[in-house]
């Protein structure tokens, strides 16, 4: 009971603070010279305040329910992602036997939600963004599954706590060297960040959020930030040994590792150009998917040999 409440509190705190941390970290990563140092700490807050002040836009005949629901649903999916992260052997909100698969479902459902965001506006630019994103979303899902199964093999379980326990001798990032890079690609896709920002891209003047303003846009950006955090936490659990680590208590380790993955993701987002949508599908299926096969075979052979 106490544990449940504590984990609930933990997830809520991450939910609330996560977006701020993402925004600050993003600014720090974007300008390594510290050119806008004054803006870094207050900037995210004042921007959020501005979005709350701005009127929410409408289009002529939007799908109202879906339009308002999609940011909230995206946020909820990200929260589910956070809920399956084990902060310590016992401090975990939802320790389902199949929590690895549950995370896979979050990824699949995110595609639907992002599609809805673009579809609902009934405007051509968001619509193109939505369809493009689906091409990406349906491509990265397979890579993600192979990587996740690879992680589940040595653990002999589909449970995140078991996955972490199985890394006691060696972290998966070393044991399965292909896994983390591939999973990071999935993360970029899941949060349409940087090179895989096909949904809200510049060439569509903002894509799925081109017609969104005010509080709805804030909700969308918050959800995306929480999803970045949730993904980073999952990546830290799957590959960086979760709560394992000396001296510090488990949750602190998880948070530190999450921050590391998050910073890496944000950095990648700024250093890579947007991938052309048509090239993206071929890249995913013909290059990255076979690589994830290799990752799985490697993981399998190693799991048997160990």
């Amino acid at each position: 009971m106490i544990e449940s409440l504590a984990s609930l509190l933990m997830v809520t705190v991450v939910l609330v603070l996560g977006p701020y941390v993402v925004a600050v970290l993003d600014r720090l990563v974007a300008t390594p010279t510290g050119a806008m140092a004054g803006d870094v700490w207050l900037g995210p807050l004042s921007r959020a305040a501005w979005l709350l002040t701005q009127q929410a836009n409408a289009t002529e005949a939007p799908d109202w329910q879906a339009w308002r629901l999609s940011p909230a649903l995206y946020l909820a999916l990200a929260a589910v992602g956070l809920a399956v992260v084990p902060w310590s052997p016992t401090l975990i909100a939802t320790d389902l036997v199949t929590s690895v698969v549950l995370w896979g479902s979050v990824e699949a459902l995110a595609t639907v939600v992002i599609f809805l965001q673009g579809w609902s506006a009934n405007a051509v630019l968001p619509l193109i963004g939505a369809y493009r994103y689906v091409a990406l979303g349906l491509s990265y899902i397979l890579i993600s599954m192979f990587v996740l199964i690879g992680v589940a093999l040595p653990a002999e379980s589909l449970q995140w706590t078991q996955v972490v326990t199985a890394q006691e001798s060696l972290w998966n990032v070393i044991r399965q060297p292909l896994g983390l890079p591939l999973f990071l690609v999935v993360g970029l896709g899941l949060t349409f960040w940087g090179p895989l920002n096909l949904a809200d891209s510049t060439d569509l003047a903002g894509g799925t959020s081109a017609e969104v303003s005010g509080p709805s846009r804030l909700a969308w950006e918050l959800a995306r930030a929480v999803m970045l955090v949730a993904f980073s936490a999952i990546a830290a659990t799957a590959f960086l040994g979760g709560w394992l680590g000396p001296w510090l208590p488990g949750p602190v380790w998880v948070l530190l590792k999450t921050l590391a993955v998050l910073a890496l993701l944000l950095w990648l987002g700024h250093r890579l150009p947007r991938v052309a949508p048509e090239r993206c599908v071929t890249l995913m299926w013909v290059v990255l998917l076979p690589l994830s096969f290799v990752d799985l075979i490697w993981a399998g052979v190693l799991a048997l040999w160990a």
Binding site: A56, A58, Y74, A79, V80, N122, M145, A152, P215, E278
Partner: protein, 115 residues
Amino acid sequence: MELLTLVIILSLALGAGLLIQWLPQRHQPIPPYSQRAPFLGGGTPDTHAWNRYHIRYYPMTLLLIAFEMEMMFMYPWAVVFVEKGMMAVMEMGMFLAILSVGIVYAWREGVFRWQ
């Protein structure tokens, strides 16, 4: 208990997402039509944007459905992999072979190119 926690987290996030949008806007009128026209850099559309859209990657989506079904078999397989040893390896070999054949064939047919 776990599921209850999950439901609480889920509804908290969902509620927060909706409240952020609803609270500041509850007294605002709906924007005028001149604002609601879709943004095209000052241009105007002839019609609604919702249409029979040419989704040029559709062969890929069909392939994905079949593919994903295979993945569904693979999750339980992962759990008993170590226990079953060689048999599981053979199984994996067969699955990956099937999937590879599928991908290679589809690639040759140009499925991953957009139509």
